[in-house]
Each structure stands twice: as structure tokens, then as C-alpha cells.
């Protein structure tokens, strides 16, 4: 199951869906809004998506993970719009009979979400400036 949402992510509900009788291990990863990045202070973050493609990329990653590992449950949720400090922007949960698969799948999923899903974050810095984050980008001009 994958989801893009403008609302806060209900982590308790998400973890509960992964707790099924054939699973022995659940791994949850949350990406949350951090206050400091290389000494600069974040006030809040906004996320924008190319929604149709983000949906299909998340689905592709979900299905690929289910092929690679014997997962009992696998869910990916990304929040869009404003995500205040300490709140969850992305949640990945994977459950499996044993922990190797659950850890490997959760790690692979978040690594690949960060590589290929068309979602972007905009930093709102404490000095009042805003900045779209594009990894690898040098400052133009």
C-alpha cells in the first residue's frame, strides 16, 4: 500500500497494519523535519510532488521490495505540503517472518525513495529565506 497525503501520518495505525500473525519482525523508518542542517536553522519544511509520477514510482519500489524480500506487509506514505519540526514527512514500514528481510527492505526503500521519487522539499530558514533542495546542485549565478 502506498499513499501521498496532506495530513499528519498516523504512525500507530501504520505499525499496527504490519503486525500480522506470519510476521516476527517489524521495521519502521520515519523521516522527520530536523531543526538544524549544517548550522542553519529550519523553521518549517514544505514538500511538493509530481503526484501522478510519485504515485507510480512509489508503487514500483513497493512491488520491487516485495519481490526481493519475503515481506508480510509493506507500506510507504509520504506527506506533502507543510511538515513542521519533528513531524513525519515519510514513513516506511516493512514486516517479515525474520528481521534480516524487514531491515533490508526498509533501508532499500528509503534509499530508493530518496533517489527516484519526484518529491521536493523547500527549506524555510530562520533568516526568512526559502530554498528548494536539489541534491548535487551548485549555487547558480
Amino acid at each position: 500500500m502506498i499513499e501521498l497525503t496532506n495530513k499528519p501520518i498516523d504512525v500507530a495505525k501504520l505499525v499496527a497494519t504490519a503486525q500480522q500473525p506470519s510476521a516476527g519482525a517489524v521495521v519502521l523508518f520515519l523521516g522527520i523535519t530536523r531543526e538544524f542542517t549544517e548550522g542553519k536553522q529550519t523553521t518549517t519544511l514544505y514538500y511538493e510532488a509530481y503526484e501522478a509520477m510519485a504515485h507510480s514510482e512509489l508503487t514500483r519500489l513497493h512491488d520491487e521490495a516485495c519481490k526481493r524480500w519475503p515481506l508480510v506487509e509493506c507500506r510507504l506514505i509520504h506527506r506533502l505540503g507543510e511538515v513542521p519540526l519533528t513531524e513525519t514527512s515519510v514513513a516506511v514500514v516493512a514486516s517479515a517472518p525474520h528481521r534480516d528481510a524487514a531491515f533490508a527492505a526498509a533501508r532499500w526503500l528509503i534509499d530508493n525513495i530518496k533517489l527516484s521519487v519526484p518529491i521536493w522539499k523547500q527549506e524555510h530558514w530562520s533568516d526568512g529565506t526559502q530554498e528548494w533542495v536539489h541534491p548535487g546542485k551548485k549555487q547558480d549565478g
Partner: protein, 81 residues
């Protein structure tokens, strides 16, 4: 042919709109999209060079032809997660 190229995040901000419509030759490819947007937004040169093109919501290689595609988007480096 006229092709509407969708823009996002830093590119959308600089262009000031969600898409740009560009005229291409009938045998144009993904590589031509990158060149055209770079000329249109010279202040975003380095960002465009880091971007990938998605055709019909899938990443496309630079030699993919544009003819017949329904949706073209320029995908700058992503930062979700």
C-alpha cells in the same frame, strides 16, 4: 510540434509557472528538451544539467523520441524522504 514541459520545485520557481510550451522538430528527443529548457532558463543551467526527463511519468533516456508522448516533465534532483 508543440510540447508542454512540466516544471517543478526550483525550476518552477524560477520560470514562474507550472509548465512551459516549447516548439520541437518532429524527430526531437529527450536530449532536445534539456537543451531547450537550458536556453530558456540560463540562470538554471547547472540545475537543468542535473535533471532527468520523465515521459508519461517514467524516467526516459536521452535518445527517447518525443513524438507520440502524452506527458513530458523535467525532474530536477529529488529531495523527498
Amino acid at each position: 510540434m508543440m510540447i508542454e514541459v512540466q516544471l517543478f520545485a526550483g525550476l518552477r520557481e524560477v520560470w514562474g509557472g507550472e509548465s512551459v510550451t516549447i516548439k520541437f522538430c518532429d524527430d526531437a528527443t529527450v536530449a532536445d528538451v534539456l537543451v531547450a529548457v537550458e536556453q530558456l532558463l540560463p540562470e538554471c543551467e547547472s540545475l537543468v544539467r542535473l535533471s532527468r526527463v520523465a515521459i508519461d511519468q517514467q524516467f526516459a533516456s536521452t535518445d527517447t523520441p518525443l513524438a507520440g508522448c502524452r506527458e513530458v516533465a523535467l525532474i530536477p534532483p529529488v529531495s523527498g524522504g
